[in-house]
Amino acid sequence: MHLLEPRPRPSRLMRWTAPLIAIVATLLAGSLLFWSLDKSPLASFQVFFIEPLTSRYGWSELLVKACPLILIAQGLAIGFKARIYNIGAEGQLIAGALAGGGVAIYMEGSDSAWVLPAMVLAGAIGGALWGALPAWLRTHFNAQETLTTLMLSYIAGFMLSYMVSGPWRDPEGMNFPQSIMFSDNALFPLLFEGLRVNSSVFMTAFAVLAFWLFNARSFMHFQLEVGGHAPAASRYAGFSSKQTVWFSLVMSGMTAGLAGVGEVAGPVGQLNLNISPGYGFAAIIVAYLGRLHALGIVLAGFLMALIYLGGEAAQVSLQMPFAITGIFQGMLLFFLLGSDVFIDNRLRRSA
């Protein structure tokens, strides 16, 4: 029999090599998958990972998908460091989209330049409130945020469904569950003619810098890390665990809410049922793949965006099902967690 025993000092180098190992292992397992489906692995990877990057359109789409992932993952990473597991960013994204979208709908017809800023603010508050709910449940009733954040995602989903089927349904939308298309002053300006990438990338870029500074220098971040590494030391030092919970969940809710506004005031352009292809969940993988580091998350966000693009390309060119995207995301997370197990532990043959 074999036993896992903790390594006295897990290697820091390996910690950063693990994402690369996971990527290689995912590619190998992906080859097996393609091969078993009678498709040439090399040609398939060409379609999946190379072709999306051969056009200006492809790069634009990459940014469109990477930005929300990076933005959400920055917020999630804050909590993950303190072992506060917000897995309901999808719901906070929807809450932010609803709040931001609501502003756009109520201010329809206004030609004010403040519509978009008001949407961004509303989205941040909406997401933050949706994150504050589980924080309140955790600090007052000790309800695990892992469960409550996930459950609140479903509630947010149904709220969205209700709003776009009822009060906010487009009267001229032929009964489709969707709102009116937002007017130009409720949309992020496009950066290039004919491409979908818009100025919300600056919002993400700013967030990356802000989180980078926060992680590197702030005392709050130090407190979060102490809470994650040694909860008893955190109590000993007199850091408030409630403050940690509130901060992590409100902060990650806020970034998810901002990402939600980025979608409805960006490529989607309205409220409907498809505002997020699971960005809130994929961002969990992005956060860990980026080793919870502000810059690592940027790289991981681009990789995850490429998997989204590749998945779409594979559906079109290789006639593969939509599930292919999920499979690649899942393999990546699986191999990453698997590598981490062996970085923290070693295998010992027991007598």
Binding site: R217, F219, A232, A233, R235, A237, G238
Partner: protein, 515 residues
């Protein structure tokens, strides 16, 4: 008549761990019926050597002979079959099972609780270790738990019994009981390997002693012919350091007082605190004796603010602080050092300078919510230099330090915060003799600068060395603190069994605090 065959013989046993030689060319002979001490400082290699004998570690080279036959001991199970039993310092009992059930778990024989009950009673009576096999383990005192471990070994009729620091959890009276049992066993021909660093115990109990330093045998001795000082010299290679306790001449006023504090433990098998009252003055060290598990953890948490209590129960420098958390009490001049250094007093994976930030962040290490890491590094460097912390600099991870050096760092860090009150639990637990002396002297110096100090410790000798007054915490109750001169090991030992009336404590201590 030829010479009797030794029960156990180690010849040139060497055990290496990556980077260190834990035991080097160790020779050791134990005769039947002999009580043999293995004496050495923490980290000298005693535990490794015992693991090798008990099959939990394997020697690279050397020979082990049991009753004259060469053996290779592969596992603890095999060691038990060969007649070797071991009582560990830290028990491995299931709280929610009965004594008999716990014992049945380790016996390599069919499960028959009724028969086992009788055998447990039988053995425990014969060796003066009274136990009711049907009692649940969580209801047992620490001393009783140790009896369970010993009985568990005795049921397998060992020929060699190894005890690792067995008295660290016992009252002085219980220690005498244990010694009677061990002498009885030795009289029946059982050999006993007794690991300890307590010199007077070894002197009164053991027939011979093997002294280990840095993994090597440095001497063998007949303890009854030695003095504690000469044994200490053999153990640490120099004179035993002595602490200087000058008389405090400054102003003496109550700084920390506790009034009728009762706390229900939040642990399932914890100890509730019952009506605790105490008072510490500036320039004074109050020692709290007693065996861990009698409310020590709960008292520490209540004093530090890690658990908050009624506002009025704790008064710090004239202000009621019971309701404040640890951070708020720290801001008012309280510092503390917990017995768990890694994971509570320090974050294992953080560097020393980050660990300085943990509690010293109030010392100008922050601006606008950002950290001045250079200040934290400066603070850590100063602490390392001032308290002679042996480490790879302030960038070294806390977990890379030895127990003694990490403790010097933590105590040093808290002293550098210029506190009004320091609470410290088990200051020298697992710390070698040299570092212990440095730590005790640091506490004495701090108190003579007008700081009030509460020391919670299991080590009676330590408390008698540094305290001005000594109280005893037993079963969640605290005895009246008496001046050291009016206390003795015997009187404190009696109180450790819970034999005292604390009602007096409430009235006099409360009067003190109000005065």
């Amino acid at each position: 008549m030829h010479a009797p065959v030794p029960r156990l013989e180690l010849l040139n046993v060497t055990k290496r761990y990556p980077g260190v030689v834990a035991c080097s060319e160790v020779n050791l002979t134990v005769m039947p019926g002999e009580i043999h001490a293995v004496l050495g400082e923490n980290g000298a290699g005693k535990s490794t050597l015992m693991k090798v004998i008990y099959g939990a570690a394997h020697a690279e080279s050397g020979t082990i002979r049991l009753n004259g036959n060469e053996v290779r001991i592969q596992s603890p199970a095999q060691a038990r079959r060969l007649g070797i039993g071991m009582v560990f310092q830290h028990f491995s009992l299931f709280e929610t099972l009965t004594i008999a059930e716990n014992i049945s778990l380790v016996l390599d024989e069919p499960f028959d609780l009724a028969a086992l009950d009788i055998r447990v009673k039988d053995v425990s009576q014969r060796y003066g270790l009274p136990l009711d096999p049907r009692r649940m383990v969580h209801s047992l005192s620490v001393g009783e738990r140790q009896r369970v471990e010993i009985v568990r070994c005795l049921l397998q009729s060992p020929k060699l019994l190894i005890l690792d620091e067995p008295t660290s959890v016992l009252t002085p009276q219980a220690v005498q009981k244990l010694f009677e049992t061990l002498r009885l066993l030795a009289g029946e021909g059982v050999s006993i390997l007794y690991i300890s660093h307590k010199l007077h115990e070894i002197k009164s109990l053991c027939d011979r002693a093997t002294i280990i330093r840095h993994g090597k045998v440095t001497a063998t001795a007949i303890p009854s012919q030695e003095t504690p000082a000469s044994l200490a010299r053999m153990m640490i290679g120099r004179e035993l350091p002595v602490c200087r306790a000058p008389v405090y001449t400054g102003e003496s006023r109550p700084v920390l007082s506790v009034h009728g504090l009762s706390v229900a433990s939040d642990q399932i098998f914890g100890t509730d605190l019952k009506n605790i009252s105490l008072c510490v003055n500036s320039g004074e060290i109050l020692g709290i004796a007693g065996i861990s598990g009698n409310g020590q953890a709960e008292l520490m948490a209540a004093l530090s603010g890690e658990t908050t209590v009624d506002k009025v129960s704790i008064v710090l420098d004239g202000k009621r602080v019971g309701h404040l958390n640890a951070g708020q009490r720290r801001a008012r001049g309280l510092v503390f050092v917990p017995e768990e250094r890694l994971g509570r007093g320090a974050v294992p994976a953080f560097s020393l300078s980050h660990n300085a930030l943990l509690t010293a962040h109030r010392k100008g290490m922050k601006y606008w919510g950002l950290v001045r890491y250079s200040k934290a590094r400066e603070f850590a460097d100063k602490c390392v230099a001032r308290f002679d912390v042996r480490c790879g600099g302030s960038g070294a991870d806390a977990r890379s330090l030895s127990g003694g050096n990490l403790q010097k760092f933590i105590v040093g860090r808290e002293i550098m915060l210029k506190p009004k009150v320091m609470i410290i639990a088990q200051p020298t637990w697992g710390v070698d003799v040299g570092a212990s002396a440095v730590l005790r002297q640091a506490l004495l110096d701090l108190s003579r600068n007008g700081v009030a100090i509460v020391v919670i410790s299991e080590e009676l000798e330590e408390l008698f060395e540094i305290s001005d007054r000594i109280a005893v915490l037993a079963e969640g109750r605290l005895s009246v603190a008496e001046p050291k001169e009016q206390s003795s090991a015997e009187s404190v030992g009696m109180k450790m069994s819970g034999l005292f009336d604390e009602s007096q404590a409430v009235s006099t201590e409360a009067a003190d605090a109000l005065a």
